[in-house]
Symmetry: C2
Subunit: 586 residues, 2 copies
């Protein structure tokens, strides 16, 4: 061992001990007859002192150390004269008597500090240096701790972690697969799994009863912000359960993680909200419930007063922004611009101000009397000093626009503290989604999702109204994950395929493999999957999942550090019985 | 929840309770006025009784249940009249009053019993049914338990589990890579990792200090028996360590697993053997030390007596098989046939018998006097009743042949009990291997392996004699894993590349990426990787790793259950900018 102690563990109680530390030079400075060197490792930073009077050569050598040199230092722990209360080791320093340079370093391309001077691209190229910064490393330490606690919790409940294969079969449904040519089976390809869905259901058929896996999954999509081609799921499945059982177990998991990783105790059950309510009150199936500002519907109060915007809109929705009646013209214009951005897509925004002096003002004051406006305010439970923001239009579209406006107002009002956590189950999702273009229903989750038992008689008569036994866990407006109870009855499954417009042959071709397994005694089962990268990012208070991943890829799916993907040798292509077929530049 | 209890937990103390069980029908039989049904789940089997006198319809329904039907049964726990001491639940039965068929099953293609009638191919095709057999499921339960304990041990020592990427860059050295065409980067490919070696070394450069990962790795090789294209490694790396530190930590890991998973306490340190001794005494770098029969060299005692086989051979080696002097002519002929098999490759075998009556017999008695033979026997420490088996020839070849013979004798004598465990470190591996064909040295492990510090002055003068700081953990004659201390000094690394015949340009092309990272302060580091599949198979007492894997592939790399790999759509190929280039049948 090159050290007796880490750079994070020595305290005043260790004074007098002779110790050896090893680590990186964070910085060194000469002051008077002394050289001070801050030595850093994963565990912390310790100050080392070299005294010119004691050993001039050593002191001189220490002053010549470069940033990020790897050093080994032996010396005596001593109480520090000017203590540093910001460092756990700030009460002590090491009076050095030996110094060995274990390795030199070129000057790094950016500073290894939380507040670095390195831009995004540079830090990604030198990710191995970026990872030295403690603010980045802490995210990966958190990730480790979370994975460990997830396993501890699930193991304690009898879940078995089973590794499912990575080289599987391409499925024609869903997002694009990454594929892998098989050298031994020329012309054939493996696919990388988008999720272990099929395999976990097979494990239930196998009687494994309780399965989980923290597992890499792959999706070849055009990467929007905050997607990665490889991502990690906490994938779980249970047999002989109903929805309530699954919710209990995984609400317990989330609470366990908050407790043992963040020391946050959630003593109350997580609220549950139907999908219909989530859309009605938040315009989103993943509402951010850290703050209120629920939607209020005003259609009935706004209609018939000769204002065509309101009259023509099937939906009028409002949110009440507390204490914002003092918003200036400019601020209101900014909000109008915000909702008119193409990403939001509203045509305009209306407002009503309840001034502190009791008067009322509105952008639509010429169409409505003060009393009429006060009726709106009353329904919104607005108080003096509040600002009501109103959008009108087609129901679902307007709700989504109002959702964006609500989130924007929440951010402006500082109501979205990343260190405050609000968890929620969204339940009773619709089973089907109607697609106007192809004029047919699609499964909202996947075709194995069980309908709500109470709605089975509506399957053929009111297909669009049938609720699924499906649920999502939402934290701070992020979908942490979700799942469903699966269909285990083959008659019901056939009916589902039929409703989804799949012929028996199609169903057999696409899902035959799982259907065959189900012939041999499939138990009732259900489960869920959490996005692990997202889970970590929420607990770390990060906006992006990228910094929860040690070596992430950029938006073109490239790892700029190792420069992958890359061209391969012709010999490799030949062995795989494939050839390049590049399109000509147009 | 469909049950109040599992099929494995009810005991006599539960008698009188009303319970609901759910599971699969293992078997049912009608006896007198009763129907007995054995209900199985992951946790056990419970006997359920239906009484014709109480409810004739229910009893009739129970008798019509098919094998592997999924049922839910409610009834009262009662003491059994004829107890079954082989079942943990054998003291009780359930007097049923409700029966619900949750799902039916077709007749399975083989019996779901430990001693099944299903052949290998059939069981692989219906792997989801094979996994229902408790002897198969137990291996995966063991695998889960081992993974959990590995993580618990490493976490307790401050190791961080960090996920490294699966979509990486193809490297031109080593075994064949599986590659993944990139749709977003036409003409370019990712590779699947053969190991996270580069990334774990980068994590050391990043100051992560202690890293591990239980991780899938991929190798596109022609599959010999007991290889899988995807396999799982326990991959580990530590900074600021020397070989001794690594050995201590991972010997601790192996002991922890044996203790907490198998309840076996290894109190003594594991023996260590140099590679040179392993070859000299066992003819193998992974000796099975569950039994003795070490090699004895007889060259000096056999030379110069006019027997050309001995005279011409640079090496004569013997093993002493205790109590085998009574081997018949036929048995000895079998052994001779064994060593002459092409897989072993010896030209013949000689033997000396020390008969119980004190006389001595030998296949080469006409060349040697009894006294000469007794001198051999003495060196072999042979006793009355023992049999000495002798091979002669070129040193390394003959040692390998004698190794095969030793293992065969060990098996014949029942000395290789799969439930007895013998662990060993093999150390001081050679750094280089000479290749006659290409007339150059190759790195025995990989080019980053550090030479033994004592041998650095021999690097250029006696290259072949230089020992590596590399080590293997061997259990029962299986290489469980191994690793090395890595070179962190760039001058030494350059010298290594030079000795391996790599030009600066070659080195930069092949390893430049890691070399560049090493410029920024690489700490001294080292580590190791264990084969997890093999680790599980050893503890499970299995010959093959296949049954430690939930969904394994066959020797052609096929998953016969899901029928992968398979052809993909032309559209997928087009999107990936590749085409098939199948060779014509010849």
């Amino acid at each position: 061992m090159y050290r007796t102690n880490t750079c994070g563990e020595l305290r005043l109680a260790d004074a007098g001990k002779v110790v050896t530390l090893a680590g990186w030079v964070q910085k060194n400075r000469r002051m008077g007859g002394m050289t001070f060197v801050d030595v850093r490792d994963r565990y912390g930073i310790t100050q080392v002192v070299f005294n010119n009077d004691t050993d001039a050569d050593l002191c001189e050598a220490a002053s010549r150390l470069g940033r990020e040199y790897v050093v080994q230092i032996t010396g005596t722990v001593a109480e520090r004269q000017s203590k540093n209360p910001n460092l756990p080791t700030g009460d002590i320093e090491i009076i050095a008597r030996e110094l060995k340079v274990l390795n030199r370093s070129e000057v790094p391309p950016f500073k290894i500090e939380d507040d670095t001077d390195g831009g995004d691209d540079l830090r990604m190229k030198y990710r191995y240096l970026d990872l030295r910064r403690s603010c980045v490393r802490r995210n990966l330490e958190l990730r480790h701790r979370m994975a460990f606690e997830i396993r501890r919790y699930l193991d304690s409940l009898g879940f078995l972690e089973v590794e499912t294969p990575v080289l599987i079969k391409s499925t024609p449904e869903g997002a694009r697969d990454f594929v892998v040519p098989s050298r031994m089976n020329p012309g054939q390809f493996y696919a990388l799994p988008q999720s272990p869905q099929t395999f976990k259901q097979l494990l239930m058929v196998s009687g494994f009863d309780r399965y989980f896996q923290i597992v890499k999954c792959f999706r070849d999509e055009d990467l929007r912000a905050d997607r990665q081609p490889e991502f990690t799921q906490i994938d779980c499945e249970m047999s002989f359960v109903e929805q309530e059982d699954v919710l209990q177990v995984f609400e317990g998991l989330v609470k366990h993680i908050f407790k043992y990783v963040k020391d946050i105790d959630f003593t109350e059950p997580f609220p549950r909200m139907t999908w219909a309510d989530a859309m009605k009150y938040y315009g989103s199936d993943k509402p951010d419930t850290r703050f209120g500002m629920r939607f209020v519907e005003l259609k009935d109060l706004t209609v018939g007063k000769g204002f065509s915007v309101m009259d023509d809109a099937p939906y009028v929705g409002a949110i009440c922004a507390p204490g914002c009646a003092n918003y200036t013209r400019k601020q209101l214009d900014q909000l109008t611009e915000f909702v008119k951005r193409p990403q939001v897509g509203a045509k305009g925004m209306m407002w009503v101000k309840l001034e502190e002096d009791g008067s009322i003002k509105s952008s639509v004051g010429k169409f409505y009397t003060d009393d009429e406006l006060r009726a709106w305010a009353e329904r919104c439970e607005a108080k003096k000093g509040d600002l009501i923001l109103i959008l009108a239009g087609e129901t679902m579209k307007t709700r989504k626009q109002l959702n964006e406006l609500r989130l924007e107002m929440g951010s402006r009002l500082g109501l979205r503290d990343p260190q405050k956590f609000s968890c929620l189950w969204v339940v009773d999702f619709p089973l089907f989604e109607w697609d106007d273009e192809t004029q047919r229903y699609y499964a909202m989750h996947h075709p194995f999702t069980s309908p709500n038992p109470d709605d089975i008689d509506k399957l053929e008569t009111a297909t669009g109204e049938v609720r699924a036994t499906a649920y999502d866990m939402v934290v701070n407006g992020n979908e942490l994950g979700g799942g469903s109870i699966r269909i285990h009855d083959s008659e019901l499954q056939n009916k589902m395929f039929h409703l989804l417009g799949l012929s028996d042959e199609d169903a057999q071709y696409k899902f035959g493999f799982l259907m065959n397994a189900f012939k041999y005694g499939a138990p009732p089962h259900g489960g869920l999957a959490f996005g692990f990268d997202r889970f970590v990012s929420i607990l770390a208070g990060l906006d992006s999942i990228r910094d929860t991943i040690a070596f992430p890829k950029n938006n073109s799916g490239r790892d700029v550090m190792i420069d992958a993907p890359s061209e391969i040798e012709q010999e490799q292509l030949d062995e795989l019985s494939i050839a390049l077929a590049l399109k000509k530049e147009e």
